[in-house]
């Protein structure tokens, strides 16, 4: 039974999603593998693995360690680089009738700017700026924990692109709302909360760190309560939309994030365990809407009852 509900989200001027469910960056590669197992056109949006100006080989193994209800990754942002992406991957992704959001990062300001410049071409629906990756030595997370640094960086990127610009924050910020506000102030069109949380695992038998990189980023259901709180805090401070991310694993979780103030969501770790979760969760949403007599999902955003 097709339920006649409206799941579209007008996220940003010029960026409309057919539903609020996207993948998170880094758990979907460039879409090819998943396209073999389900129709990517169902996605609210597709977000690419984080790209840097040049190809990046990432960190030594092991890069993954499981933790209670979650995992730590220390991939180290291995990626093919902006140019290879534009040449080899974008065309493929454009066949699916859904917005392609390109996630990118830099080790220094000029790299961010140059990435944004090169990525501002047709076929790219929006840019997601990662200022919060705990997995690289220089760059990354320190941009995402100081509001002034963040403002300056987003400003520079804003100057070179007219694409919708999403800034993806780190939960490490003492005050996530302040960071969100800085990003908005500097011209960001939306905020993503959150990236992984810096974390560590040790093998008490060998006395060695479990990850090749010593530390990495925690994700999965374990961090969901933290992510939900950041969405709540950030969405009360800014006027631009907030995209929720962190530990989402069901349509119930999607609704919770939207009630807290998220306009859309990204699912990362859970889709590593459940590659078929996207169709399931998107269907679950329409069912939920039917059960609760919700006509347009947009009406759920920020409607937490206090």
């Amino acid at each position: 039974m097709e339920i006649a509900v409206d799941t579209t989200i007008k996220l940003i001027q010029g960026l409309e999603l057919k539903n609020p469910v996207m993948n998170a960056s880094g758990t979907f590669a460039y879409g090819e593998e998943c396209s073999e197992i389900f129709d990517l056109s169902i996605m609210g949006g597709i977000i690419t693995k984080g790209l840097s100006l040049l190809p990046n080989k990432g960190n030594p193994p092991p890069r993954i360690v499981e933790t209670p209800c979650g995992l730590i990754n220390a991939i180290g942002l291995e990626n093919i680089g902006v140019d290879a992406f534009l040449k080899d991957k974008l065309q493929f992704l454009m066949q699916f009738k859904t917005p392609i959001i390109v996630n990118f990062f830099g080790s220094y300001e000029e790299e961010y700017v140059e990435c944004a410049r090169r990525l501002s071409i047709e076929g790219v629906a929006a840019l997601e700026m990662n200022v919060s990756c705990p997995n690289i030595k220089s760059g990354g997370i320190q941009f995402g924990t100081d509001p002034h640094t963040l403002y300056a960086l987003v400003r520079k990127v804003r100057d070179v692109t007219t694409k919708p610009l999403i800034v993806k924050l780190s939960p490490l910020a003492g005050d996530i709302a302040e960071m969100a506000f800085s990003a908005q102030d500097a011209g960001a069109d939306a905020i993503t909360c959150i990236n992984t949380i810096p974390a560590m695992a040790i093998d008490e038998e060998t006395w060695r760190p479990t990850l090749g990189n010593i530390t990495g980023g925690l994700s999965g259901p374990a961090i969901k309560p933290i992510a939900l709180r950041t969405v709540w805090e950030a969405s009360h401070k800014v006027d631009i939309p907030v995209i929720g991310c962190g530990g989402i694993s069901s349509s119930a979780d999607v609704i919770q994030f939207m009630l807290a103030g998220a306009s859309a969501v990204e699912i990362g770790s859970f889709s590593l365990r459940e590659p078929f979760c996207f169709p399931d969760i998107i269907n679950g949403l329409t069912q939920y809407m039917g059960r609760h007599s919700i006509d347009t999902i947009q009406d759920v955003i920020g409607r937490l009852k206090l």
């Binding site: 758990t27 590669a29 073999e36 197992i37 193994p61 990754n73 999965g220 694993s249 590593l272 590659p275």
Partner: protein, 281 residues
């Protein structure tokens, strides 16, 4: 690649800490190549969070066989599953072994938990010489089933000498491929290693002249050692690598290894690699 709900049919201890798991799949897993693997979801709730990778020991008529060793929490929980319990299986995953070309004679080397893909391949090819290593007799699983693979020879090695040759499986391999190995072999043979005993010097020498392909799965050091031996006798060598995995189907870059052609994902580009392509640590 499918995600199938499976019922445990059998989950039986077959060696020290080692279990043979038979699963009835609700649906057809599809064609598989020896060397491919599956990701098993052990719990329907989110702890343990990740699926666990296991080689396919065999698959026919909707029955999937896995041989696993209890290592940590996931495999421990797996060992507590009873017939009728549900598990979820993603697969088949990865690339299988490339098959022998022309008249390449297959040698198989398995150590520790490396048996499943090797067993599956030998069963498929039905020829060649299978060399199995373990710490001790108690750790050896499926000895009879290995011996019963038609048209193959099987040698067993234990580190403590409790069964077969005493030493490392790569010692046996070394002897088998070395000049005059027929001679050395008869000298070293232990009474109860019947198959190897039956190998005449002539047969052994033939191997040396025939082109060889060596398949190996097991601990990293064993694989590296195998590759060194293979290189010395100019044999092709294919190894099955292990790396911690999050997804198992190529999207997370969690299982990357360095090769001569750049970073490769063990789960998608492997787990089988040409040993010559790997940048060995």
């Amino acid at each position: 690649m499918k995600d199938l709900e499976c019922s445990v049919i059998k989950n039986q201890k077959v060696a020290n800490n080692t279990y043979l798991l038979a699963l009835r799949c609700d649906g057809h897993i599809g064609e598989y190549m020896p060397g491919q693997f599956v990701m098993i979801k052990i719990s329907s709730n989110t702890h343990p969070f990740l699926r666990r990778p296991f080689g396919i020991l065999g698959y026919s008529d909707g029955l999937l066989y896995v041989l696993y060793k209890v290592k940590g929490q996931g495999t421990y929980m797996l060992s507590n599953k009873h017939p009728g319990d549900k598990l979820w299986v993603l697969g088949p995953l990865g690339k299988g072994f490339s098959l022998p070309e022309c008249n390449e004679e297959p040698f198989y080397v398995a150590g520790g938990t490396g048996l499943p893909p090797i067993f599956s391949l030998a069963q498929h090819l039905k020829k060649g010489h299978i060399m199995i290593g373990a710490k001790s007799l108690d750790d050896l699983a499926l000895v009879e089933q290995i011996r019963n693979i038609p048209n193959t020879k099987a040698s067993f090695t234990t580190e403590d000498g409790s069964f077969g040759f005493k030493g490392l499986v790569t010692d046996v391999l070394k002897k088998c491929v070395s000049r005059g190995r027929g001679h050395v072999l008869t000298f070293d043979i232990l009474e109860h290693d019947i198959q190897l005993n039956q190998m005449t010097e002539k047969e052994c020498q033939m191997l040396r002249h025939d082109p060889l392909i060596i398949y190996a799965c097991g601990p990293y050091d064993m694989l590296r050692q195998t590759y060194i031996i293979a290189k010395r006798c100019r044999a092709r060598c294919q190894v099955s690598l292990e790396e911690h995995m999050a997804c198992g189907f190529g999207v997370c870059q969690g299982c990357t290894v360095e090769t001569r052609s750049g970073n490769m994902r063990v789960c998608k580009d492997g787990p089988i690699f040409d040993a010559a392509d790997i940048i060995w640590r």
